[in-house]
């Protein structure tokens, strides 16, 4: 049977995750347990959610550089307002989603580069987060804490959550009509427009959905760390982009894969642990993490080229 290009795109991320996991287990056999897996992948859940949010934005050919500050802001809201007066917290989140939708409309109507708009917004979110929590603190809502530290039988929460996120977003992005329109907008927005759809509406909805997932990422993060700080998730901007690319997504053309994105987020988290197990000093870890990224992407490029050559023959 001929494999579809989508399946081929998933092979590399899945294989690299498996390889990395095998290496970790080889070096530290005790990680092969319920607690071990949970510890390895705990922090992957908020990253996976942020990666999904970034992937949604990327599916319509845009890029969100405010992801890190926005998730930080959401974490601050979750640790303060949502904890003290839940209703106001929910209202703030709804406002944030509306802001995301508005951003999508603005980018579409004024034909602005999304990078510029989101970079500008990143300062807004960062400022709001500092206003809310000038110094680290706050308390996680007990329900968020309960969800993130739950201990389901057999499989640790981190794995269950990752699978759940992958399944839900796969349904939304790859199976539903809305997902088709969203990816169609990324692939060829003129043809979507010619078919009588409102591309501006599709973009706004996509951005709103991305905002929702970023909010979930913020709440999940607070649930894990119990308190928040205005700079808690700054590295999520680049991690989320790397996760999407690692998972087989592309910057343009509406080629995204939710399952791949979750796998990419898991791989990135695991890469950090792997390097610690290798006893590489933290000074070198970021560089080594970059090296892993480059190797995986080089593999993918090679595979793409192979596929293209096959098609031409």
């Amino acid at each position: 049977m001929k494999l579809s290009s989508g399946t081929i795109r998933l092979i590399i991320p899945a294989a690299s995750l498996a390889l990395l996991l095998a290496a970790v287990f080889y070096m530290q056999p005790r990680a092969m347990s319920y607690t071990g897996l949970n510890l390895l992948f705990n922090l992957a859940v908020p990253i996976a959610l942020a990666t999904i949010a970034q992937m949604l934005i990327m599916s319509v050919n845009d890029l969100d550089l405010s992801m890190g500050t926005f998730v930080s802001f959401c974490a601050c809201v979750a640790a303060t307002v949502l904890q003290n007066s839940p209703l106001l917290g929910v209202l703030i989140f709804i406002g944030a989603i509306a802001a995301y939708a508005g951003m999508g409309v603005l980018i579409h109507v004024r034909e602005l580069p999304s990078i510029v708009v989101t970079l500008g917004m990143s300062f807004v979110w960062g400022g709001l987060a500092v206003l809310l929590l000038p110094s680290p603190g706050g308390t996680a809502p007990s329900w968020a804490r309960a969800i993130m530290t739950a201990k389901p039988p057999l499989v640790p929460m981190a794995i269950v959550a990752s699978i759940l996120i992958a399944a839900v977003t796969h349904y939304i992005v790859m199976r539903s009509s809305f997902g088709v329109l969203m990816r169609g907008t990324g692939g060829n927005d003129r043809s979507v427009e010619r078919a009588g759809w409102s591309v501006i509406g599709i973009r706004a909805a996509t951005y709103a959905l991305a905002g929702l997932f970023a909010i979930l990422a913020g709440i999940a993060l607070v649930g894990l760390t119990t308190s928040a700080d205005a700079n808690i998730a700054l590295r999520y901007t680049l991690l989320s982009i790397a996760g999407v690319i690692l998972g087989g997504g592309e910057f343009v053309g509406g080629k995204v894969s939710p399952i791949g994105a979750v796998i990419g987020a898991l791989t990135l988290t695991l890469a950090g642990s792997f390097l610690s197990f290798m006893r590489i000093s933290p000074d070198w870890q970021i560089g080594a993490q970059g090296a892993i990224l480059i190797v995986v992407l080089a593999l993918r490029l090679a595979l793409n080229r192979l596929e293209k050559r096959e098609k031409h023959q």
């Binding site: 989508g6 009509s177 692939g187 043809s191 078919a195 759809w197």
Partner: protein, 486 residues
């Protein structure tokens, strides 16, 4: 012309005027399509075919005139679609990252609800089977994985398919451009069945044989006007070509007798499968003609890349390029006029890697006077100039270099006639001084200025015209094949 029974007007565009800036794309055009007829639309580049198609499918609002679907005056893409107007565009307009059935979902909004995927697959598969019996396209495959011909087939099938309501009018813009002869014949046969069932088709094609054999009525457009609108049986290939071109209007140009001295400056082997080779000699002005997008720009790029390393910039370029799309790859919008002009010759203007401002200013002043760039100050922003004057700066940029060969990619698009005449003069004198010009143009008047013309069709040079043989009629006859599709 005398149609005994009054048939329903599917779409009626009357006295449509559309202008893009100074260019009149449509100047009072009428196009009425009745149910149960196949209308052929032919014309040279820029005749307004695509514009009228865009008006009919709702993508473009006419500036003047009336547009009615089945007697009702409504506007917009959704209104056109609601009235059963579908369009297969020349450039493929599927979403390449989606599967075939997902594309059908986008084109057919009514495919909603549970299990739409299998219903979409069923719809496309059935329609494909109807139009192209014996095809081997898997509806679950991504469009990216299909060949160009298969994509075209899918797009045609999706457009002809109807779930609740069948399309009333299908516009086919160069539908057979990437289909082989067998598939093209299947499509034309299906068009006839579709017509027999009461549908209508607007067919645009550069293969006149197809138009003549398939259509009931042929509309010929030129310069935004409909110049002929008659039953297809009243035309033959010859009269159709004549209707498209200027029959009269002979101008005299002082075309110099080409002296092919020495070895060619530039040459290119012929297309692997068909066509003739390209050669350019010193001091010649060579035109690349033919319908737009038939490989002229690619040929220019090939010539350019062959003579300039794409890894390392060479110190002394012997070839210059004037881009056609000013805003996309011509001007530096934030720079001054002078900087835009001198960018290509900075190495001549500098000593020890530093640009000499006085020499730059002299160069600017010289060219400002020579080609009459209308500005008080060469330090003004380039965007302060009109489009025509911007284009003159781009010409000056190429001519100010020491390059002996200048490639031009339809540089006069959207330039007013006065500026054109001035530039023609400069080109002529530069050619007399021994420069070689390779000029792709979609305008017949410019092609007739050239010493020698190569006509392109389907990526290859199909004809070479020299001297007095360069006429609109000969160019048209060579650009439109007579039916033997590639």
């Amino acid at each position: 012309m005398t149609e005994p029974l009054q048939r329903e007007e599917v779409v009626a565009a009357r006295a449509i005027k559309v202008t893009f800036g100074a260019v009149k794309a449509l100047d009072g055009t009428d196009l009425v399509i009745h149910s149960g007829e196949c209308v052929g639309l032919v014309g040279h580049n820029g005749a307004g075919k695509s514009t009228i198609v865009n008006v009919i499918n709702g993508g473009l609002s006419p500036h003047e005139g009336t547009l009615a679907y089945a007697g009702q005056e409504v506007h917009g893409i959704s209104a056109a679609r609601a009235n059963g107007v579908r369009c297969v565009f020349q450039e493929l307009s599927l979403c390449p990252n989606l599967t075939v059935n997902e594309n059908a979902r986008i084109m057919h909004a009514e495919l909603k609800g549970w299990n739409w995927r299998s219903r979409a697959s069923e719809l496309v598969r059935r329609q494909l089977q109807k139009i192209f019996p014996g095809h081997a396209i898997d509806c679950d495959s991504t469009v990216d994985d299909l060949s160009i011909a298969e994509r075209q087939m899918v797009e045609i099938a999706i457009s002809f398919a109807g779930l609740n309501q069948r399309p009333k009018l299908v516009i086919l813009d160069e539908p057979t451009s990437s289909l082989d002869a067998g598939l093209a014949a299947q499509l034309m046969a299906y068009v006839r069945t579709f017509i027999a069932e009461g549908g209508s088709v607007l067919l645009i094609s550069h293969i006149l044989g197809e138009i003549l054999s398939t259509c009931d009525r042929i509309v010929v457009m030129k310069d935004g006007h409909v110049v002929a609108d008659r039953a297809a049986r009243e035309f033959n290939t010859h009269s159709l070509v004549e209707a498209m071109g200027n029959v009269v209007r002979e101008q005299e140009f002082s075309r110099k007798a080409t002296a092919r001295a020495g070895a060619p400056v530039l040459s290119m082997p012929p297309h692997p499968r068909h066509g003739i080779a390209f050669e350019a000699y010193r001091g010649e002005m060579i035109g690349l003609a033919g319908l737009g997008g038939h490989g002229q720009t690619d040929a220019l790029l090939d010539l350019y890349l062959e003579h300039s390393s794409n890894w390392w910039p060479t110190r002394k370029r012997d070839i210059a390029f004037v881009a056609g799309d000013r805003s996309l790859n011509g001007t530096f919008p934030l720079w001054s006029i002078l900087k835009n002009l001198s960018i290509a010759s900075l190495s001549q203007l500098s000593s020890r890697k530093m640009v000499s401002q006085s020499r730059e200013a002299t160069l600017g002043a010289g060219w400002k006077q020579r080609i009459e760039i209308r500005t008080p100050d060469m330090d003004n922003r380039i965007l302060s100039l009109s489009g025509g004057n911007q284009q003159k700066v781009l010409f000056a940029r190429a001519l100010a270099t020491t390059a002996s060969t200048v490639l031009m990619d339809d540089p006069m698009r959207g330039v007013d006639i006065g500026t054109k005449q001035e530039v023609y003069e400069i080109l002529r004198s530069e050619a007399a001084n021994g420069r070689t010009f390779i000029w792709y143009s979609t305008e017949m008047d410019e092609i007739r200025l050239c010493d020698r013309v190569y006509v392109f069709r389907e990526g290859a040079i199909v004809a070479e015209l020299v001297g007095d043989a360069i006429s609109e009629k000969n160019v048209l006859a060579a650009s439109f094949s007579e039916g033997e599709a590639a």
